[in-house]
Amino acid sequence: MTEHFKKASQHVSQNERLIFETSSPGKRAFELPPLDVPTADAAKVLGRYHRDEGVSDFPEVSEIEVLRHFTRLSTWNYAIDLGMYPLGSCTMKYNPRVNEFVARLDGIATEHPYQPQELSQGCLKIIKLLEDCLLEITGMDSITLQPAAGAQGELTGLLLIRAYLQKQGNPRKKVLIPDSAHGTNPATAVIAGYQVENIKSESHGQIDVEKLRDLVTEDVAALMITNPSTLGIFEPRIAEIADILHRKGALLYMDGANMNALTGITRPGDMGVDVMHLNLHKTFSTPHGGGGPGAGPVAMKKILEPFRPTPVLIEKDAGRLSLDANRPESIGRVKAFAGNFGVLVRALAYILAYGPGIRQATEDAVLNATYIRKNLEGVFELPYSLPSMHEVVFSDARQKQNGVNTMDIAKRLIDYGFHPYTTAFPLIVPGALMIEPTESESKEECDLFIDAMKSIAHEAATNPQLVKTAPHTTRVGRLDEVGAARKPILRWKQAPARSEAAD
């Protein structure tokens, strides 16, 4: 099997139980400096609120055991640091290490959000510079860095729209969402108090502009567009779409998850977008960390500026920066404090590394995706043939004929040393394979990926069982998700009965 796989080989990984299973009373890892004030009598001062004993069943392990435990666990993960993550829509690009370094500096990591503003000018300058850079990149007039992630950014954007329309006299009832949209879009619309109306994509996978004309009434508050779409295809009639909405007093919201195809090439603000969010953990390289943290800044046109979440950054005299909460028309706060500042620092560091040359990253991202598409076009079904930008969506239609579906192919890709691409999304492509290499991949890594995919397609045709039972080289095989959902076990418990041995 190893000759097939130029990138991966069988890895011997160590077993490791749960930390609670390694624990035994009296062991300790972290020690504190001795107490230098009189000892308080906890039972006396807390009275009935005193927790009589230590947290029951809390781990008791030594320093080296903690270090080994998590180090071993880490070796069970795939990561960008190891190789390509072709996950469509996630933009898994290199997370520059200097960003980690600067985020941890004394004077950056140590700052308290309530410290006096005269002692926070450094932090406020960072916020200001990032705001300015993101406005330049998006072509918008105003911005908030408060939302903690893309979904929260979407909510903020819709709340801004609602506030604006409310001021005009009618917040309206509906938000139009393409059937190709990410699940956060409709979920967010509902939380913002709107009904969702799905708009079916036309035969090329794009927004049906003629249908849109009929759908946009004065009941519609906004359309949420993703551009390029979740198919990786640019919506060329976006300005026309914006116009249709504007004529009826509605606004255009853009989900900025796919900015990696646009940065430095074009600007959403120039194309009629009224408000959009960015995902700093996608386009702007902040690390995914296994699922977060991220940040979802929201950039907007002037008309929405008065409604921005508080506090907003203002410049006082003598160039002094300040956070201003006196904003009578603001939608309020969406999160405590000013935002995920540590994530903002990393994004700014990324932008500073590129400067005006940031366009090059976009060019390489699109080049990589187009290259992969060209090489795999004959091998996998391409449901929509318009040119792809930074990501390409295939379907498993050909392989399905042998009973092999997108999930199977994805699992087999693991044996070849790659993380799977995005399976089964967008919903408008049954059996989707969504591939986004990003600019961080070398030609060599792209070629290895292409070879792997071609090999799997061949296996699907000649030895489908091998693919359907993949992966074969990981610590655990396919896991029983049905059992996990039927009888959820969501925590460890000190078991009276001996549960199944670990590994």
């Binding site: 950056i108 700052e111 699940g183 600007r267 943290p293 999160k335 620092v345 366009r359 030609k443």
Partner: protein, 448 residues
């Protein structure tokens, strides 16, 4: 550019395969009139050293060298260097959400451990894999209570963190939820008499914080009884998680939310932190956020997977329990590592040092003429004092001594005109406490 692994020759090769003559052709789907003709006006490009220099210069404009007595929802605690050693490992730092379980068992098992630790700390049966922070966790917990009870009113103690209440207000406006505030009693806890006597048949939840924003511990068991008598749920939020080492957990509450920043996360000017929602097993299907469950593979080997995903946005879409997608996974990992390092005894000892140092500080401050303690209910590591003059002006004087003074409560509670919220954690030395007391004394001796 150092982040781009392609040579000019390779770009040419790839372009040839694609069939284009120039990179510009790759963008032909973007209408000509919207394609930028010149480069963006951005600062840079900076080398690695210059980037570091830029941020060091910013750091020098902040609060280096000051001792801070601020808490108010964000706490300075000791953190082991080992936490960073672990979370800086590329396999954790640069890994994706564990949707493909076979190659993300590291992340999944550590989240399972996190969920377990949160249950142990809070006395609840199930905990999720994290929310953005304490403020959104508290808000989502209230929305969860709304779904569970099908009721539209929420009673929120005024002693809950003002920014948490602000976030709830923003979310409530659009969900039709009616939010009413409950007054603070003279001892600093929520006014239980007012709660008892108010109409509650349409109340979904009572939201309290403990220890609350004024530093005092709320009577959770009593509040739970009041809530349950009328079919409402008690939501208890914990902003100073270290308190759980010594203070009885809010086990009687129906939903508990925790801000985990105190567990190994730097203050970082407001984020990223980590929120958690913990509750009863019977409510789990209404709980937002990811959940990791234990299971087996076909060989009977134990493994972990994301589970109960049908609650989430990517499946349920408009009927999801929340729109949350990205959470705070790496922060949760940091908290997990931190708690494993502290362990049972370490957490208790850390909590005890906080308790002792705060009390020592109070004793020293009460010796100063004109300084008195406000609110006499039990507290953990934060307490409110009343001064004979404006706290703002006093803090100006303290700054000259390189002390960042206590939180000015008047900014959040207009009636607390001369009150300050003092926080003392294990990171403050005896000498620093004594210096603070002496600086405060001299500030009060200044002519007005």
């Amino acid at each position: 550019m150092r982040y781009l692994p392609k040579s000019p020759a390779e770009r040419q090769q790839m372009l040839a395969v694609v069939g284009g003559k120039s990179v510009d052709e790759l963008f032909s789907s973007v209408p000509e009139q919207y394609r930028l003709k010149k480069a963006l006006n951005l600062p840079g490009p900076l080398s690695e050293a210059e980037i570091i220099q830029y941020f060091k210069a910013r750091a020098a404009e902040n609060s280096l060298g000051y001792t801070s007595f601020l808490g108010a929802g964000v706490y300075n605690h000791l953190r082991s260097v080992i936490t960073d050693t672990i979370i800086q490992r590329g396999e954790f730092l640069t890994s994706y959400t564990p949707y493909q379980a076979e190659i993300t068992q590291g992340t999944l098992q550590s989240i399972f451990e996190f969920q377990t630790l949160m249950c142990q700390l809070t006395g609840q049966e199930v905990a999720n894999a994290s929310m953005y922070d304490g403020s959104t966790a508290a808000t989502e917990a209230v929305l969860m209570a709304e779904r569970l009870t099908s009721r539209r009113r929420v009673l929120v103690a005024r002693s809950v963190h003002p920014e948490y209440r602000a976030v709830l207000k923003t979310y409530a406006k659009n969900s039709g939820l009616i939010v009413e505030e409950v007054a603070i009693a003279p001892d600093g806890t929520v006014d239980t008499k007012a709660l008892q006597s108010s109409r509650k048949e349409d109340v979904a939840a009572i939201l309290v914080q403990s220890p609350n924003f004024l530093g005092v511990i709320e009577p959770i068991a009593d509040l739970a009884n009041i809530a349950h008598k009328s079919g409402a749920l008690l939501v208890a939020t914990v902003t100073e998680a270290v308190s759980l080492g010594l203070v009885k957990p809010p086990a009687e509450a129906d939903i508990v939310t925790v801000e985990g920043q105190s567990f190994g996360l730097a203050p970082s000017y407001g984020g990223p932190y980590v929120g958690v929602i913990a509750s009863r097993e019977k409510f789990v299907r209404q709980m937002p956020g990811r959940l990791v469950g234990q299971t087996t593979d076909s060989n009977g080997r134990r493994g972990f997977v994301l589970t109960l995903a049908t609650r989430e946005q990517h499946i349920r879409r408009e009927k999801a329990t929340s729109n949350i997608c990205t959470n705070q996974a790496l922060c949760a990992l940091a908290a997990t590592v931190h708690l494993c390092l502290l362990g049972k005894e370490g957490l208790r000892e850390m909590a005890h040092q906080n308790l002792s140092k705060a009390r020592f500080a109070l004793t020293e401050l009460e010796k100063i003429p004109g300084v008195r303690r406000a609110f006499d209910a039990p507290f953990f590591n934060e307490f409110t004092i009343e001064l004979p003059r404006s706290v703002k002006l006093v803090n100006v004087h303290l700054l000259r001594e390189k002390i960042v003074g206590p939180f000015v409560l008047g900014t959040a509670y207009p009636e607390l005109t001369k009150h300050a919220l003092v926080c003392v954690t294990e990171t403050i030395t005896r000498a620093e406490i004594e210096k603070f007391a002496s600086a405060l004394r001299s500030a009060l001796e200044q002519p007005v």
